[in-house]
C-alpha cells in the first residue's frame, strides 16, 4: 500500500494541544518538514515563545528552549552567537513578537542575526483568551476591545514585514498564509527558504504567517478562513517584502 500521508520525522509523537481548526498545527508541520527536508534536525535549536505555541518544545524533535514572553529573538541571539554552527529558529505569536517583544524583534533584525523567525499573526492573543493584539484590525471585536478596536484609543495595527523590510540587517521578509492548499504550499516554500538562508549564512529571515484563531474569533474553522481572507489579507497583503540576495529591497 502506498503511503499518502506521513508525519514528518521531526515532529514528536506528542499530541498537539491546539484547538480544532487552529492553523498553528499546519505551521508546525511546515516548520518540521523544512527541518526534515534540509536534514538539519540534529543541529537545530528552536525557541518557543509565550503564547498558544509555548509547548512547541514538546512537538519538535530538535533541541528546544522556552523563552520569556517576547524575548525569543534575544534568546536565539545568545544560542546562535554561542554556537554559530547550529541552526536557530524562533516560533512566535503576534503579541509575543510585535508587542512585548518588539525591541528584541527589531534589534535582532537590525543586527542581522543569522536566525530564522516564524511569526504567527492571528490578530489576537490566543492563549490568554482573546484580547487585542498589536495586529488586531481596526474595528475588530476582542475581549479588550468589546466595541471593536477604536483606533482613536488603541491606535493602529503593526505591519511587521513592512516595518522590518526597511532595516538593512534583514535578509528576507515574506508574508504568507495557510488558508488554502496553494497558499500552504507557498508557505512551505517560504519557510524552507528562511532556513536555507540561515544555512547559507545570509542573515535574518522572517516568515509571517497570517493565521486563524477560530476559538477566540468566535467562528468555526471554515468561517475563520473566510474571515481571514476578507479582513486580514487586505490589511496584511501577502508577498515578499524583502529578499536582499535576490536584489528585492521593498515591495
Amino acid at each position: 500500500m502506498a503511503t499518502v500521508f506521513q508525519k514528518p520525522s521531526t515532529l514528536t509523537d506528542a499530541k498537539l494541544h491546539y484547538c480544532p481548526g487552529c492553523t498553528h498545527g499546519i505551521i508546525h508541520r511546515l516548520v518540521a518538514e523544512a527541518i526534515e527536508s534540509l536534514g538539519i534536525d540534529g543541529i537545530t535549536v528552536g525557541v518557543a515563545p509565550v503564547g498558544c505555541s509555548v509547548m512547541a518544545y514538546d512537538y519538535f524533535t530538535c533541541d528546544m528552549v522556552q523563552a520569556p514572553h517576547g524575548r525569543a529573538p534575544a534568546v536565539a541571539t545568545g544560542l546562535k552567537r554561542a554556537r554559530p554552527e547550529n541552526i536557530v529558529f524562533t516560533y512566535q505569536g503576534d503579541g509575543d513578537l510585535a508587542a512585548i517583544g518588539t525591541a528584541e524583534t527589531v534589534h535582532s533584525a537590525t543586527r542581522g542575526e543569522n536566525i530564522t523567525i516564524i511569526f504567527v499573526n492571528n490578530a489576537i492573543y490566543g492563549m490568554t483568551g482573546g484580547q487585542m493584539a498589536p495586529t488586531t484590525l481596526p474595528g475588530q471585536v476582542t475581549q479588550t476591545t468589546p466595541y471593536g478596536r477604536d483606533t482613536s484609543i488603541a491606535g493602529f495595527p503593526v505591519r511587521v514585514c513592512e516595518m522590518l523590510s526597511t532595516l538593512d540587517g534583514v535578509e528576507y521578509a515574506e508574508r504568507v498564509s495557510v488558508d488554502t492548499v496553494p497558499n500552504i504550499n507557498n508557505a512551505a516554500r517560504a519557510i524552507k527558504k528562511a532556513f536555507q538562508n540561515q544555512i547559507d549564512k545570509k542573515g535574518f529571515s522572517i516568515v509571517e504567517v497570517v493565521s486563524t484563531c477560530p476559538t477566540n474569533w468566535g467562528l468555526t474553522p471554515v468561517e475563520a478562513l473566510g474571515w481571514l481572507r476578507e479582513n486580514m489579507l487586505p490589511y496584511y497583503p501577502l508577498g515578499v517584502y524583502k529578499d536582499r540576495s535576490a536584489g528585492k529591497e521593498t515591495k
Binding site: 514528536t12 522556552q66 534568546v75 545568545g78 528584541e104
Partner: protein, 350 residues
C-alpha cells in the same frame, strides 16, 4: 611568580572572567559598571570571544539565557536600575536550571537614584531577584583582588549547582584601583549533557524550560532545587573574621563598607575597645551560624551598610532575639571610619 597589576575593580573582574573561560558577554551601558563592558569590548575580540551590546538589559539577560542554554560560560553586568530589568530573565534562568554570572555594581536608588556607591539592593539580590521561589549565589567581594578571585568561584559554583550567580559589588569597588594578582588557575569547565546544542542524532532532544502546568510537577522541581540550596547552605558559606575572638562589640559589614568598618575596628582597638568584624563574603548563602557564634559572647552587635538597613534583617535572624544596632548612610554616601568609630564608642559606653 604571577605579576601584580594595578587595576580598577571593574577591569580586574572583566579580566578574571576572560581568564575563567567566559567568551560570551552581553551588556548594556550603565554607570558605574562602565569599565566592565569597555574592557570586554576591547579584549573579547582578541581572545576569540564575543562582546555584544544588547538593546536593553532585558535583551542582554535573555541573550545570556540563550548562550547558557547552548552550554557556554556567559556573563552580563549592570548596575541597580539595569538589574531591576534583568530580574525577569534571572527568574527564568533559575527556573530553567541554567548557570551564568551576573555582575551588579550597585548605585543609589530608588528610581534613577544616583551614580554613587550604594548597598541598597541587598534585598533585591538575596531575596527578590525576580518572581518565584528561587535563590542565586551572591558573592560580595571587598577588594579588587577578591573581585578577581570571586569570578572563578562564581562560574564554577554556578555550573556545579546549575544556577545563576551574582557578583554583588558597588561603585566604589568597581572604580578603585588596587594591585591584583590573577589566580593561576585553569578554568574547570564542566560537561553539560543537558545543553540545547543540537542532538546530532545522538540523543533525544534536550528541552530548556521553566513551564510546568501541573502543580505537582512544579512543586517537585522547586523542592528539588531547594534541596540543592540546602547543600549550598551547608558547604558554600564564606566569610572573613577580623578580631572577633575576644570582641565585646561585633560589627557585621560586607563589600566596600567592610573596609571602612575594619579601619574603625583597628582604631577602636587602639583606644582599648574590643571591637571585631565579621564580613560575609557570600550574602546567599548567608553566614548565619558564623555570626551567631561570633555574637555568642559579645555585649553589642552593630551592622553597618550603605543603605537604610537591609542585611541587618538577616543578622537579626542569625542572632535570634539579641539586640542588633544599625548604622547606615545611603543615597551614595560612603560612611567614614570616624562615623563608624563614633558608633562603636557609643556602644562601648552603653
Amino acid at each position: 611568580m604571577a605579576e601584580r597589576i594595578l587595576m580598577k575593580g571593574n577591569e580586574a573582574l572583566a579580566e578574571a572572567a576572560i581568564r575563567a573561560g567566559c567568551r560570551h558577554f552581553f551588556g548594556y551601558p550603565i554607570t558605574p559598571q562602565t569599565e566592565i563592558s569597555a574592557y570586554m569590548a576591547k579584549k573579547m575580540p582578541k581572545v576569540g570571544g564575543l562582546y555584544l551590546q544588547a538593546e536593553s538589559e532585558v535583551a542582554a539577560i535573555n541573550m545570556v539565557l540563550g548562550a547558557a542554554s547552548a552550554g557556554v560560560r556567559t556573563m552580563t553586568s549592570s548596575s541597580s536600575p539595569g538589574i531591576s530589568l534583568k530580574t525577569e530573565g534571572i527568574s527564568y534562568i533559575a527556573g530553567s536550571d541554567l548557570p551564568c554570572v551576573i555582575i551588579d555594581i550597585q548605585r543609589g536608588g530608588p528610581g534613577l537614584g544616583g551614580i554613587q556607591p550604594s548597598q541598597a539592593d541587598y534585598w533585591q539580590a538575596t531575596k527578590a531577584t525576580g518572581h518565584g521561589d528561587f535563590q542565586l549565589l551572591v558573592f560580595a567581594p571587598s577588594t579588587v583582588q577578591e573581585m578577581a578571585n570571586t569570578v572563578f568561584d562564581a562560574f564554577e559554583l554556578a555550573e556545579k549547582y546549575r544556577m545563576p550567580a551574582m557578583i554583588f559589588a558597588d561603585g566604589m569597588l568597581g572604580q578603585m584601583m588596587e594591585p591584583v594578582t590573577f589566580p593561576e588557575r585553569e578554568p574547570e569547565i564542566s560537561e553539560k549533557p543537558w545543553a540545547a546544542d543540537g542532538h546530532k542524532g545522538q540523543r533525544t532532544h534536550n528541552i530548556i524550560n521553566s513551564l510546568y502546568l501541573q502543580p505537582q510537577d512544579l512543586e517537585r522541581l522547586v523542592r528539588e532545587r531547594f534541596e540543592r540550596y540546602d547543600v549550598i547552605k551547608k558547604t558554600e558559606v564564606r566569610y572573613d573574621e577580623f578580631m572577633t575572638e575576644d570582641a565585646d562589640i561585633l560589627l557585621v559589614a560586607y563589600g566596600a563598607t567592610a573596609r571602612i568598618v575594619k579601619s574603625a575596628v583597628v582604631e577602636a582597638r587602639s583606644k582599648g575597645i574590643k571591637a571585631g568584624l565579621l564580613r560575609p563574603i557570600t550574602l546567599w548563602p548567608f553566614p548565619s551560624e558564623a555570626i551567631a557564634a561570633a555574637a555568642a559572647n559579645t555585649k553589642a552587635i552593630l551592622c553597618v551598610e550603605m543603605s537604610m538597613g537591609q542585611m541587618v534583617d538577616d543578622v537579626r535572624l542569625a542572632v535570634g532575639g539579641k539586640q542588633v544596632d544599625f548604622f547606615g548612610r545611603t543615597g551614595g554616601i560612603i560612611p567614614t571610619p570616624a562615623e563608624v568609630l563614633a558608633q562603636i564608642e557609643e556602644l562601648a559606653r552603653r
